[in-house]
Symmetry: C2
Amino acid sequence: MSEDGNAVRTPGPEMETVHLLRRVSVEFGLRQGEFAARHGMHPTDVRALICLLDAARSGTPATAGWLGAQLGLNSAGTTALIDRLVRLGHLTRVRDTDDRRRVLLAVDARAVELGQEFFGPWLTGMVELLRTFDAREAAAVRRFLLGAHAALAREDGGAA
Amino acid sequence: MSEDGNAVRTPGPEMETVHLLRRVSVEFGLRQGEFAARHGMHPTDVRALICLLDAARSGTPATAGWLGAQLGLNSAGTTALIDRLVRLGHLTRVRDTDDRRRVLLAVDARAVELGQEFFGPWLTGMVELLRTFDAREAAAVRRFLLGAHAALAREDGGAA
DNA sequence: CACATTACCTCGCTGAGCGAGATAAAATAG
DNA sequence: CTATTTTATCTCGCTCAGCGAGGTAATGTG
């Protein structure tokens, strides 16, 4: 049944919602690209900034290798990416004093501003929309997104 | 208060959910990249296939220009992208008989299979998760995603 | 029929990201 | 305490995705 060619053609309300989530992701990628172009960056640079800001938010120490893994880049590409962000003044390399092989990435305040300029309005809109939800509805949204994240986190999607 | 530097540091359950959606989008992008690498394609090629399958699903006629707009590419890049997909046998160029300037993009059955191979497991997991939701919860998820999509569709996010 | 517009393609170039391999610090063995 | 392995990052050379500029059909307009 998983190889049923008609699978994409059986709509159903659930499928509709899933496609909507996918659509949101696509749209999100487009906004990233526009933001990148507007600031003389490449889409990857913006994605890197996003990861770095997330890391800062959650207190995860961001190293070069970690960033590369987040973005699916090899070490050469990661070095080039960091060079670009450093050149633009968004990032500073800081040798880890505990393990001096490691390079910690310190996000500049300017990059944080850029991130908020990018996410701010959208984020605010989303938050305000969520405030119109009652507790059970908000929990449902959270539960769905957690499930989606979990499904995507394992690359086989849960089935071979 | 919108320029409050502490905005990202005031968690709140709503903010958490919004960050989760963002995280899902990032993860989604990573899966695309992995799928692309596994099939000798580039991330953009996969995104193109996604757009083309969406267009096919909704009956939108997919032209070269339309695809370029969807992906934020200029005409030269779009031509190169289509050449790549044609060379891989995922796509066929078909001159529109009504307006012979236009090139319609016919997605090959093989590409549809690839798309389902990619989305299938994940899609199924999501749909099954949604089936555990009651009507109001499912509606809440849909409402949130619609709102997110609407916010992202206007590049200023609804505020300057 | 001229003339503007639209839709796509060709050409040449820049640079993002890859593979291979170097280097340096840390962990482990002997 | 030296030799070896492992880990984390960087350097070098190359390929090819995507851009800008410009060309060529097809369509629409007076």
